[in-house]
């Protein structure tokens, strides 16, 4: 039992949350912390702090609310350029769309963004990196 716990802990995906509004951020935090294979390493709002914390906290995944607009959010392009192994999930504040970004992989739309569909997308992406 103890072994399993340690094993899980060693493999936990480290998630950094940069979502807005606060209520959504807390919901995402709650969703992640209930997963045995994931862990919230921090919550952050300032983009510069986000850049620095990814390295400091060794985040595998960033869940971010981009500014409204068309096309790929600027922040995703910048983050992937700096951290090629990073997985980014963007979730709009209104909740109508979520996308997963990885280096050299076309962005993936997460249909009907829900806790389950976002968690599944993160796990799939983590597996693709591991393999």
């Amino acid at each position: 039992m103890a072994f399993n716990e340690v094993k899980h802990d060693m493999r936990k995906t480290r998630v950094l949350i940069a979502s807005r509004p606060k209520l959504l951020s807390e919901v995402i935090h709650y969703m992640i912390q209930r997963q045995p294979d994931m862990k919230v390493v921090s919550e952050v709002l300032d983009p510069l702090e986000l850049f620095l914390l990814i390295k400091t906290l060794r985040a595998d995944v960033v869940i971010v609310t981009p500014l409204p607009g068309n096309g790929d959010p600027h922040i995703c392009i910048k983050l992937l350029a700096a951290y090629p192994l990073l997985i980014i999930v963007t979730q709009s504040a209104k909740g109508e769309a979520a996308y997963l970004y990885q280096t050299n992989v076309p962005k993936k739309r997460i249909n009907e963004p829900s806790a389950q569909s976002i968690l599944d997308a993160i796990r799939q992406a983590m597996q693709s990196i591991a393999s």
Binding site: L23, L24, E26, V27, A93, G95, E112, A115
Partner: protein, 220 residues
């Protein structure tokens, strides 16, 4: 043992809707009895389930949060509505209150704050943040300032005279002849009277003067 607070959630953001429901399920005194992703579905379900408190997103498809609040306030006033709003807009909050909302919580607020708001409105209290309350007080003061207190409205003797002539059924031309002034001056007087009293037409001005006994008594 206290009865649980029965809560309904309406939000088109599935992650938020389901997430809030999961988190509220952890509270001992709260039970989530249903949810909806659109305004019309929310009205239908709430009428059926009759929750104590309904959390309603302000910007849902088909019927928005205000439509839902108005419908519930009319048909089910016992259901306390808390609006989940995005921007901190005083005018929007005012409209929500006028529509019958018992509380207004920004999505920028914490979950803990949301729970507190649910408990508050269940107790029959209204709920908004101190910052929102301050904005509302300012707005109310502004609106009060826009209405001129009646005691401060002063008609000049000439304007009272003009109203009396209107009450006698005279046209502007006839009034100008009687008072030995230009017709345009009569028009100016009438314009000023209506403006001062915030009235719309001559009839309302006469009515106003009659109610305040400003009209001269006619000899029998």
């Amino acid at each position: 043992m206290n009865k649980s607070i029965r809560v309904f959630i309406a939000d088109d953001n599935r992650l938020l809707r389901e997430g809030i429901a999961s988190m509220l399920a952890q509270e001992e005194d709260i039970i989530v009895i249903g949810s909806a992703m659109s305004g019309s579905e929310a009205i239908k379900q709430i009428k059926k389930l009759r929750p104590d408190v309904a959390l309603i997103d302000i910007g849902m498809p088909d019927k928005d949060g205000l439509d839902v609040t108005q419908a519930l306030y009319k048909d089910l006033p016992s259901v306390k509505v808390i609006i989940l709003g995005m921007p901190d807009l005083t005018d929007e909050i005012m409209v929500c209150i006028e529509s019958g909302a018992a509380g207004y919580v920004l999505k920028e607020a914490s979950f803990e704050y949301l729970v507190e708001s649910i408990r508050s409105v269940k107790r029959g209290e209204s709920f908004c943040s101190p910052r929102m309350a301050a904005s509302l007080f300012s707005r109310i003061a502004e609106l009060a300032g826009e209405r001129i207190p009646e005691s401060s409205v002063k008609l000049t003797p000439r304007e009272v005279e003009v109203i009396n002539k209107i009450a006698d059924g005279m046209s502007n031309k006839e009034i100008s002849g009687q008072l030995y002034i230009e017709e345009q001056t009569v028009k100016n007087h009438i314009h000023n009277i209506l403006d001062k009293l915030q009235l719309h037409n001559r009839l309302e001005a006469v009515q106003y003067a009659r109610e305040r006994k400003l009209l001269k008594q006619k000899p029998e």
